[in-house]
Amino acid sequence: MRAFDTLDGLVVPMDRANVDTDAMIPKQFLKSIRKSGFGPYLFDEWRYLDRGEPGQDCSKRPLNTGFSLNQPRYRGAQVMLARENFGCGSSREHAPWALDDYGIRALIAPSFAEIFYGNCFKNGLLPIVLDAAVVDALFRDLEATPGYHLRIDLPAQTVTTPAGAVHGFTLDPFRKYCLLNGLDDIGLTMQHMDDIRAYEAQRRAVEPWLFD
């Protein structure tokens, strides 16, 4: 998993509450055999005027030009500014996969759905919870300022606006450690490789038939 340290990223707004994982990546894409390549289908139903299918070339599809992801000023965004209960719905990891593949590295919202919040960390994304009033102010700033960037500092746990306002955020120290070091569950387990090898040696002595 990719490590997260600091980021100075262009911000894209997702100005509605209760955005669910079905909206982020509609059901038909679950049939895919891939974990990557979901970026073009992120928010498929809101982003395009037709219905998308897995594997489809999106470059010629009719765009919903009013949708934020389609506006040139937000192209290349790495930070998504969102409303409460972002990521509700199913436990599918396709949602963070799609955000990641699109290029989003961090999300800011007043609250996140719990499973989605956990799945973000598993996939190298940083979900940041800020006060609803702060998020409101950020939405106003963002709207008024073309090329609006936010500076995110994970070690310091701060979000800094272009005007220099600093907003602190909290997160679980263990999750922070994993994200800073790029450790997903597998990476963490890999830190115990010696334990696993020692265990295997002991099992092999008792049950050699398991190791043929």
Partner: protein, 467 residues
């Protein structure tokens, strides 16, 4: 040492390390892989620049998407085909043993593992499929996992898990004639409910369980997940050992003797304490038929569809009403009056050789009722199919009007072309009667193989024992 349950023994033998909060790194001995839940795990492995920790514990097969008709033409549906081909490529790339669609060893993953001796006592067995509980019949710790966990096991041979509570289901007495393992497990689910086992590892014990063959025990453990349990298991005895002797993946020679001596210790100690105990008298069981859209909605063959009006709990009553509407059944209908459109004998619950023998014994010399649109027999594996053919069972089924198919999951969930049309009603030997499980709008009644066979002949449910 304190007396231990079988689950505790299996658990402790596999803990590599334990975190202060009880989360444990558990070592995995056997990893079964199918085409549906593995593609993203392999891709994740590649994206992370990792490779499998060990390849010998992995056995792969394509079961959900494969056609059960002639396979020479390949798979017509492009999405199904791509899933199967992706598994082929991934296995070839990493050197994993795969029983591909055209391999004689192909079959439902939960049927081929045990029949090859690839499921052994004291193994931890995982697969990206909830019915991995099946393998617990061999005193193995076996449970289903998600795709992220499939990747975790591929990369590290371990999983991060927490210990479950323990439940013992003791089935005393002896089964009446015509009552089978399937009826026991449906009876257990009817008694404790589909959430009754949530948070538990269930050990099935007692004289009626010990009297079962390995096939019957697998049927029981297969449906432990339908009782909400993450895993089900049965202690080692002579039946376990006799079954394993001489199988391709079983140890041989001096190792066999050492293995048997070790495996014999895999029983719950006298005086071991369970968090929950459930008792059932086998003598009181009758052949079971589900009437609703959850496996706990079950009655005996001489019973009637229940009346939601008699249910005090409003949530349950509402669930019953919705189930009856979906199933298009009226309260008080006699189970024997329910007429069927299709019959499916197959799935990882009931497509082993003993199941096909039981069904063929009912069918022999009779004809499928004219009102039945389709009656399918889908063996669980290539080996089951060949064995059945050697015994002439295929001819018994074909002569009666059944279709004799190639092995796979088939109409258990209809990912291939075998499914129910909207509104069709099916007697099925599978494990789930959820809405749309066997096809959108399809209606499923879960029964044993003998009961499904008898229903095919009669055109409606009948008591196979009296048939």
């Amino acid at each position: 040492m304190n007396p231990q349950t079988l689950y505790e023994k299996l658990w402790h033998k596999h803990v590599v390390r334990e975190e202060p909060d009880g989360t444990s790194l558990l070592y995995i001995d056997r990893h079964l892989v199918n085409e549906v839940t593995s593609a993203q795990a392999f891709e994740g492995l590649r994206l992370g620049l990792r490779k499998p920790w060990r390849i010998t514990p992995i056995i792969a097969t394509a079961d959900h998407n494969v056609p059960t008709t002639a396979r020479a033409g390949g798979i017509a549906d492009p999405i199904s085909r791509l899933q199967v081909e992706t598994l082929d490529h991934n296995c070839a790339d990493f050197g994993i043993r795969e029983f591909g669609m055209n391999d004689p060893g192909q079959g439902i993953v939960h049927v081929i593992g045990p029949e090859m001796g690839a499921t052994l006592p004291n193994m931890t067995v995982v697969c990206g499929d909830s019915h991995t509980t099946t393998h617990g019949a061999f005193a193995a710790l076996a449970f289903g996992i998600g795709t992220s966990e499939v990747e975790h096991v591929l990369a590290t041979q371990c999983l991060l898990v927490k210990k479950l509570k323990s439940m013992r289901v003791t089935v005393s007495g002896a089964l009446p004639p015509g009552v089978t393992a399937k009826d026991i497990v449906l009876g257990v689910i009817g008694k404790i409910g589909t959430a009754g086992g949530t948070g538990y590892a269930i050990e099935f014990a007692g004289p009626a369980i010990r009297a079962l063959s390995m096939e019957g025990r697998m049927t029981i453990c297969n449906m432990a997940i339908e009782a909400g349990a993450r895993c089900g298991m049965i202690a080692v005895d002579d039946t376990t050992i006799d079954y394993l002797k001489g199988r391709p993946y079983s140890p041989a020679g001096a190792r066999w003797d050492a293995a048997v001596a070790f495996w014999r210790t895999l029983v719950s100690d006298a005086g071991a304490r369970f968090d929950c105990e459930v008792e059932l008298d086998a003598g009181s069981l009758r052949p079971m038929v589900t009437w609703g859209t959850s496996p706990e909605m079950v009655v005996t063959i001489d019973g009637h569809v229940p009346d939601p009006a008699h249910e005090a709990d409003p949530v349950k009553r509402d669930g019953m009403q919705r189930a009856l509407a979906y199933m298009e059944l009226a309260p008080h209908t006699a189970i024997q009056d329910i007429r069927l459109d299709k019959v499916f004998i197959g799935s990882c619950t009931n497509a082993r050789i003993e199941d096909l023998r039981a069904a063929a014994a009912v069918v022999r010399g009779r004809q499928v009722a004219a009102s039945i649109r389709q009656a399918l027999v889908v063996p669980g594996s290539g080996q089951v199919k060949r064995q059945a053919e050697a015994e002439g069972l295929d001819q018994v089924f074909i002569a009666a009007g059944f279709e004799w198919r190639e092995p796979g999951c088939s109409m258990c969930l209809g990912m291939n072309d075998d499914r129910l049309a909207p509104g069709e009603r099916c007697a099925s030997t599978s494990n789930r009667n959820f809405e749309g499980r066997q096809g959108p709008g399809g209606r499923t009644h879960l029964v044993s193989p003998a009961m499904a066979a008898a229903a095919a002949i009669a055109g409606h449910f009948v008591d196979a024992a009296k048939f």
